[in-house]
Symmetry: C2
Subunit: 141 residues, 2 copies
């Protein structure tokens, strides 16, 4: 099974973790709990959380009762922001081989790549954590 979309597990976890934090407002949540809820590796997730903290999307506190909490309101954090913190700025791809072939708008991929990237960017930038309440509502398993 392959897909044409590439999102690292790290970025995917970051997005999901942030959505989860948004569903637990005003509560400091330890990464262990987040990992459990996502059903993912504690080790890896903690690295991701660390990154989100360094980049200022969440604030962290150590020690007992420590954990992570959103630094801004859910309305003020877009999915794109989170994605870019993990994967770097999202740009539109042109032909993958670039020169010397496929130059000048005459590319094998036509406008597929640009179109898809633009669409993804649009999607991610238009959605804030606020818009994704509900994802973590149903009790799971």
């Amino acid at each position: 099974m392959s897909s044409i979309v590439k999102i690292s597990e790290a970025a995917s976890m970051a997005l999901h973790a942030m959505v989860f934090l948004a569903s637990e407002p005003d509560r400091v949540v330890p990464s262990k709990e987040v990992a459990a809820r996502l059903g993912r590796s504690e080790a890896h997730l903690s690295k991701v959380m660390q990154r989100l903290a360094r980049e200022g999307l969440v604030s962290s506190t150590r020690g007992p009762k420590g954990g992570f909490i959103l630094k801004k309101g859910p309305r003020d954090i877009s999915l794109l922001e989170i994605f870019e913190v993990m994967e770097g700025p999202l740009e539109e791809t042109n032909c993958l081989l670039g020169r010397p072939i496929c130059r000048g708008g005459n590319c094998i991929f036509g406008d597929l790549l640009r179109g898809v990237d633009r669409q993804a960017k649009e999607y991610l930038s238009k959605r804030s954590l606020w818009d994704l309440q509900g994802v973590f509502k149903g009790k799971d398993k």
Copy 2:
């Protein structure tokens, strides 16, 4: 710079190589020449060609005057076919974390992933090598 579209260099080379072969009908082209034309590593390209041969998209002959040639007419080879030979069957992705969260059509990514994959599949399946004549027409550099 990051993109959300993932196509390996191998798959990209495969697509371009096939288009190039289509532009040289009835001629056996050595991989060295293809690599030169694409401006890519000979080593890597030859592995790609090897794969395409094993999968029956091109036929290969060794020795002097050897090389590769399309096995079917350009109208009968779609880009999707080539893509899938390299990357495996292209399926529509759902949520990347899958269970336990984001189940039942209530996913962070909404219909973005499915939509994009469907779009790509559509694009690739609708285009044959024949549709891409012209890409290699202009003399380059």
